[in-house]
């Protein structure tokens, strides 16, 4: 940490004295580079951090610049008033451009944002107010008492100050709750939603952030060049910007800055051969995408990992510690009989295939319910209906007495439902601790204004979350894995992390989808202990499982599904003797007589 502050200080010092060694052309180049760096940070936030393919960043830039130009020249407003209004205008445009992200993602979003960017260029080229193809010239220089900002040397310091502020703010966002949630959404929007991240709000926030950066860059550009024209905001520049972010490393804001600076310098060096420069950076983009998707910023980590493998390091020596059971919360007998979850006559149809057929079940408070059945019997579909991923074709789902049928997963999560997934959906690019932090953070995304107005309270909250995360890590014996990426961990530990994450979201009802899949005997035993302790702490648990030994010993009630219908329900020993169950599993309808007597189920 101290080292980092020292490095940042040195860089700051170097930047402070930079103009002394530059001629007037060079300082102009540096000023333009800083503007691109701010733009790149904005694109990095929306695309790298939040995973929203935004090809309209250059339009945000343009709106900021044009709004400043129009307000200062046509309306005669002062530069700073215009600047504030211009950034606000850009945010409005950001909201408009971001709206499609609520419905479409990935390449669809890419084409829509690209289309809107083209629409913007089309508008400024034609609109009289924007000066048409000639653009707007004679924008007044910004004024500051005592400082002549028409000097590019002094303008540099203005830009530097703005750059420092926006970079710090960007890093602040990325490293605290909001950024974590965005990265979680980027890695796996489904799992993030299941943990209560309001995906739509989050996407809009990302676009708004990007537009603020675009607007600020646009204002600075208008103040620097004092002339705006359509070609500064065309698609070629959008792709240049994209190249900066990809080559630098889209997931790291520092990487975006490095990318912007290096690409801008290369372009400057080849200023007489623009097409050669373009071939070069285009090729680098392709190479980076194929061979080093994390860009320049990701290289040190990759090289370190490679060297470690060369030296024959077998991962880390981190050890899994034993699980520390929760304190048993005294059972409240009045609640004992209340139903936590009521599934009423639910059917789910997929294009002709009836995955669920009139399924009804009621789960009582503090119950451990097992759901079993042969492959393809509709178990996971049932979970997906309960947790809001699917809307049932018919029937209702009531959770804590409220009708929650067809509600978005994040609303159910906020109402107290939490789940794990059959194939593990940990956030791969987040550390184990960050995975837990995403679940622990119950704040609302729409309270993100706090980042601007009450940064200290945000920091304090975040410190508090870290303390809670450490507690969870200790309880699940995961402390030594806190800083590691989940993918690098053995499967059994990943499973435990996912359960810890689901419980960290403080649910009332916990849904476990095949938690024992891929675990060895000892791990299954530990799992059984963990689930029982979770229940004893006051939660209700529903568990889908193939490992019948686990289900038989753990669950009080078992529901058996076959071909989308409930064929049996009852205590484990009852279910195991049920002829329909035996037939569903073994395929024969022999009577239960030649079954061995069921050993007493240990509870």
């Amino acid at each position: 940490m101290k080292q980092r502050i020292a490095v940042a200080g040195l860089i700051g010092l170097a930047l402070w004295f930079l103009p002394y060694g530059l001629d007037s052309y060079a300082i102009h180049v540096v000023n333009v580079i800083l503007i691109f760096a701010i733009l790149a940070i904005g694109l990095g936030l929306v695309m790298g951090v939040a995973g929203q393919v935004n090809l309209a960043q250059v339009a945000f830039f343009g709106v900021g610049a044009y709004a400043t130009a129009i307000l200062t020249t046509h309306q005669g407003l002062g530069f700073w008033v215009s600047a504030v209004l211009a950034v606000l205008a850009t945010v409005v445009v950001g909201v408009v451009v971001g709206t499609p992200a609520l419905r479409v993602q990935s390449h669809y979003l890419g084409i829509v944002t690209l289309g809107l960017a083209l629409a913007f260029t089309n508008w400024v080229t034609n609109a009289e107010i924007a000066g048409g193809a000639e653009g707007i010239s004679a924008i007044p220089a910004p004024t500051l008492p005592g400082i002549d900002l028409s000097s590019e040397y002094l303008y540099y310091y203005l830009e530097l100050a703005v750059f420092a502020v926006v970079l710090t703010f960007g890093l602040f966002v990325v490293r605290t709750g909001l950024g974590r949630r965005m990265r979680a959404m980027r890695d796996d929007a489904l799992a993030a939603g299941a943990l209560g991240a309001e995906v739509p709000v989050l996407r809009m926030t990302a676009f708004m952030l990007a537009s603020v950066y675009g607007g600020v860059a646009g204002v600075l550009y208008a103040g620097l060049i004092r002339y705006v024209a359509p070609e500064s905001f065309n698609i070629a520049n959008m792709f240049l910007l994209l190249g900066m972010v990809i080559i630098g490393g889209r997931q790291s804001l520092i990487g975006c800055v490095i990318g912007a600076v290096s690409l801008a310098l290369v372009r400057e060096a080849l200023v007489d051969h623009p097409t050669i420069a373009q071939v070069a950076y285009g090729s680098v983009v392709v190479l980076v995408v194929v061979f080093a998707p994390t860009g320049l910023a990701g290289l040190p980590t990759r090289i370190r990992a490679l060297l470690a493998r060369r030296r024959g390091h077998q991962g880390t020596a981190a050890q899994l510690q034993p699980f520390q059971p929760y304190e048993t919360s005294p059972a409240d007998d009045t609640r004992r009989t209340t139903a936590i979850l009521e599934v009423e006559h639910v059917s789910k149809q997929f294009r002709g295939l009836k995955a669920l057929d009139d399924v009804s079940l009621t789960v009582a408070d503090r119950e451990i319910r097992g759901i079993v059945g042969p492959n393809g019997s509709g178990k996971t579909t049932l979970f997906n209906v309960i947790s809001g991923l699917y809307r049932p074709t018919a029937g209702r789902v009531r959770f804590l007495g409220r009708d929650m049928t067809g509600q978005a997963p994040y609303r159910l999560a906020r109402a107290g439902m939490s789940r794990t997934f059959q194939n593990l959906r940990l956030f791969g690019d987040l550390t184990v601790e960050e995975n837990l932090l995403v679940a622990l953070d119950r704040s609302r995304t729409r309270q993100s204004w706090r980042y601007v107005l009450r940064p200290i309270s945000v920091l304090r909250r975040d410190r508090d979350l870290h303390r809670q995360a450490r507690e969870v890590l200790t309880r699940y014996g995961l402390t030594e894995f806190a800083g590691l990426a989940p993918k690098a961990l053995p499967y059994g530990i990943q499973r435990r992390v996912e359960i810890a994450r689901a419980v960290a979201a403080a649910p009332t009802l916990l849904l476990l989808d095949e938690p024992a899949a891929g675990l060895n005997g000892e791990e299954v035993r530990q799992l059984s202990e963990i689930v029982r302790s979770i229940r004893d702490s006051g939660l209700t648990v529903i568990i889908i499982e193939h490992n019948m030994g686990l289900v038989m010993s753990l669950c009080e009630q078992i529901t058996v599904l076959a071909s989308g219908r409930i064929i049996a329900e009852g205590r484990p020993d009852e279910v195991a003797r049920d002829a329909a169950v035996i037939e569903a599993y073994l395929g024969d309808s022999m009577t239960a007589d030649d079954l061995p007597t069921v050993p007493e189920v240990t509870r």
Binding site: G51, V53, T99, P100, R103, V104, S106, H107, Y108, G110, I111, V112, L114, G115, L116, L118, A119, N122, W123, T125, N126, L190, I235, A236, F239, L242, G243, I246, T275, I276, Q278, V279, Y281, G282, S283, V284, V285, V286, V289, V290, P293, F350, T380, F383, N384, L389, Y390, F421, Q422, D513
Partner: protein, 289 residues
Amino acid sequence: MQVFLQTVIGGVSLGAVYALVALGFSLVYRTMGLVNFAHGNVVTVGAYLASTFYLSTKLPFALAMVVAIGLTAAIGLVIERVLRPLENRDFDLMLIGTIGFGIVLDALIIMVWGATGRAVPSPVPSAPIELFGLRIRTYDLVVLAIAAAATVLLVLFLSRTKRGAAMQAVAMDHEAATAVGIHVGRSNAIAFMIGAGLAALAGGLVGPLLYVSPALGGALGIKGFAAAILGGFGSIPGAIVGGLAIGILDSFTAGHFQGYSELVTFLVFTVIIMVRPTGVFGERTVNRA
């Protein structure tokens, strides 16, 4: 009514070109799940190659087109080969990779043919035909005929040939396709090649309609992509309907909004995508847990 029909006719030939571009997008997406953002630049390459062989080498128009299609298809092969490691893996990275290719192609075009454009004379007499009081350019009919023929050939290839069936099989289930002995990589390469060939065909045809310049493909690519999405990504009838729809929309906006036609076209497109993301003939998008 007269004006209305005339506007529709004005949009149809460009719409047919958009449809060809959309077909290329759809075919590649359908078989390998790759969205080729360089497709527009490939169209430009095709347009320049065709016009070069037609104007400079004095080849007959049809022959120039064939040569251009062959050369452009080879470029498609290169793109597929380089990006193959990303296939069926990271959607967004592939998308950016093809943008990278687009940047490179764009620069190469300027290096080879210069930044200024060229006009390509129509290979057929330019006097329009009068029909029921409507004026139809002969070249528009040529474009329509060739686009229709290309579509029919593509459909026949996919439905009647072993290779075509195999390509569709790969798209539907690449594991089962492997098990019956289909070389998935080669099948994808061929899909990409055909996609690039269609792009070249669109580029060659559009030469006499528009001005051939480095910026040509950008607009065609985006509108072709919009057409593909509008019709339902991956669907062949969708690509055609989408292409014609965008062409006619273009023609109307050009008539009513003059300079702002592009703005209106993209706004309309955005709204449609918001309302129906799967397009007219769209399917799938089942949320999987």
